[in-house]
């Protein structure tokens, strides 16, 4: 079985994001970019499936600007077998919207025939949480979102999902799309031998046009603003102090 893992290049989660002065988006100049952390978890899970003998090949795919090649090399250094880069824009500020990404992925799936697509539940830049679900609709495949545990057994997968009320375990028919949540696993570091091997692994470069997908944005960003600033908290030494502070603030 092949496992396809879409990975997105996003602002590193450690970076303090700044909104551009004109409110048109966030500042990307000189900002460190990394693999979306949820996608890292998906790559890790795919590699574990391969190590457990449940998958033969792990293919990472990224859709975006040419620089996403670095993100794919990281996936290869973690242990993915090969990578596909689909260049869909040459403007780092253009976000390829979930529907366009899902359409390209659907085309890649038709070409590669994976038994499983493992994706991050969302990208930490726009928090759309839509691509996996859209891909499922386009392909007519089953889907299991927010996975915190994944088991592949023959022609179906058993997935534990993190839902509002707690955990829900479902069984889905393969081929399927699983979107992964934070607690599924802890991604490994790229080992030194794998870093050195990454360059030698195949990385195919395609364009959105190769798949006949129009990536023109359908959404327009009206305004981007910083979240409202919160006043710093204080530490209280005792319950009495807590009560008196709450009274002072007129909260009790």
């Amino acid at each position: 079985m092949k496992v396809l893992v879409p990975v997105k290049r996003v602002i590193d989660y450690n970076v303090k994001v700044r909104v551009k002065a004109d409110g048109s988006g966030v500042d990307l100049a000189n900002v460190k970019m990394s693999m979306n952390p949820f996608d890292e978890i998906a790559i890790e899970e795919a590699i574990r499936l391969k190590e457990a003998g449940k998958a033969e090949e792990v293919i990472a795919v990224s859709i975006g600007v040419k620089q996403a090649q670095e993100t794919l090399r990281t996936a290869l250094a973690m242990g993915a077998d090969r990578a596909i880069l689909v260049v869909a824009s040459d403007d780092v500020h253009q976000d390829i919207e979930p529907l366009a990404v899902a359409k390209i992925l659907a085309a890649v799936v038709k070409e590669e025939q994976p038994g499983l697509v493992l994706c991050g539940k969302q990208a930490i830049d726009n928090d759309m949480n839509a691509t996996g679900q859209m891909l499922s609709a386009l392909l007519g495949w089953s889907q299991a979102t927010f996975a915190s545990e994944v088991g592949v057994e023959g022609d179906h997968a058993v997935v534990t999902r993190e839902v509002d009320g707690g955990l829900q375990t479902i069984k889905v028919k393969m081929p399927t799309i699983i979107s992964v949540d934070l607690r599924l696993n802890e991604p490994r570091y790229a080992s030194l031998p794998n870093i050195m091997k990454a360059k030698k692994k195949p990385l195919d470069e395609k364009t959105a046009a190769d798949y006949g997908v129009d990536v023109t944005p359908r959404l327009s960003v009206v305004k981007t603003t910083e979240p409202a600033a919160r006043a710093a908290g204080i530490k209280v030494g005792s319950v009495d102090e807590l009560v008196s502070k709450l009274k002072e603030a007129g909260l009790v």
């Binding site: 670095e70 990281t74 250094a77 570091y189 790229a190 990454a198």
Partner: protein, 386 residues
Amino acid sequence: MQYGLTEEQEMIVSTVRSFVENEIYPHEDLVERTGEVPAEIAAEIKRKTIDLGFYACNFPESVGCAGLSHLEFALVERELGRGSMALNHFFGRPQNILMACQGEQIERYLMPAVRGDRMDALAMTEPGAGSDVRGMKCSARRDGGDWVVNGTKHFISGAEHADFVIVFVATGEDDTPKGPKKRITCFLVDRGHPGFTIRDGYKSVSHRGYKNMILEFDDCRLPDAQVLGEVDGGFEVMNTWLYATRITVATMCVGRARRVFDYALDYAATREQFGQKIGKFQGVSFQIADMITEIDAADLLTLAAADRLDKGLPANREIASAKLYASEMLARVTDAAIQVHGGMGLMDDYPLERFWRDARVERIWDGTSEIQRHIISRDLLRALGA
């Protein structure tokens, strides 16, 4: 001029940095408070380093290691420099000098060291022989076919964890026109060997938990099989294999300075006085500007020196410049970072006072700033007959 890192090198940097942030930083307070690295933490760091293929990555592929270039190894150590030296000792980097092992020494010392089965320590300094290496009193005399070693070494880093030490000892004296000159031989000595003791050294203000040990040799009898390199060939092995070690100090200073800088930058951007961020005051912002300029300069100087080694070019002066500049830069940067923080900078709620203390030794060990200036100036002036 080729400039910039390859994708592999970027990934090496990012892996080691994540490792230091996730596996080293969380234990630093404990080591700082107790002055000890708990054995289980040491073992865990070592195991993870071996699993990641980074253990002994300064050693070549011929002995089963990664064979990183000098530049790549400098990048690894730069990132390690961000973290505690006591802890990152277990991100093992055995002494390159072990490549001088011959015959059965290879299986007894070199291979176990690069596999992480046995740890080493290097012993040169003595109470009466610091910068003046040839002034060493620790000596060995011939007795039958063996050597009998007597004397003391001190400031020996890592010896508390060492299964064996690589020690430089005087094995005779030559008369030269400039007066008597000691002949030096390098020996491999196992922990627990009769006549050899390792004991606690001094309490240092820098790098708590990264101990300096005292080695005592009392009629310690060693066969010729324990000689690393040739008898009386100590300076040859030293010059061949220890040439590059000063890059370690330089590059670790750069890594630590960047960590310190991040604290100062963040504080300047968030702390408010007189109704505005203190970073808006030139008194603070210009310090920030000077800090990053000096850090970048030291970084480039160090990587350029490492690159010269990779290209097989003479690098003695360049390495000395990097060690001198980076260690003195770290002193200025840690001092300025505390100034930006004001009084809080001196409190142990922040790690800045630790970085400030730790910075002090960098200008002293592995050749003081004065020795580096001597190397640099002699390199330039000797050629002109001055």
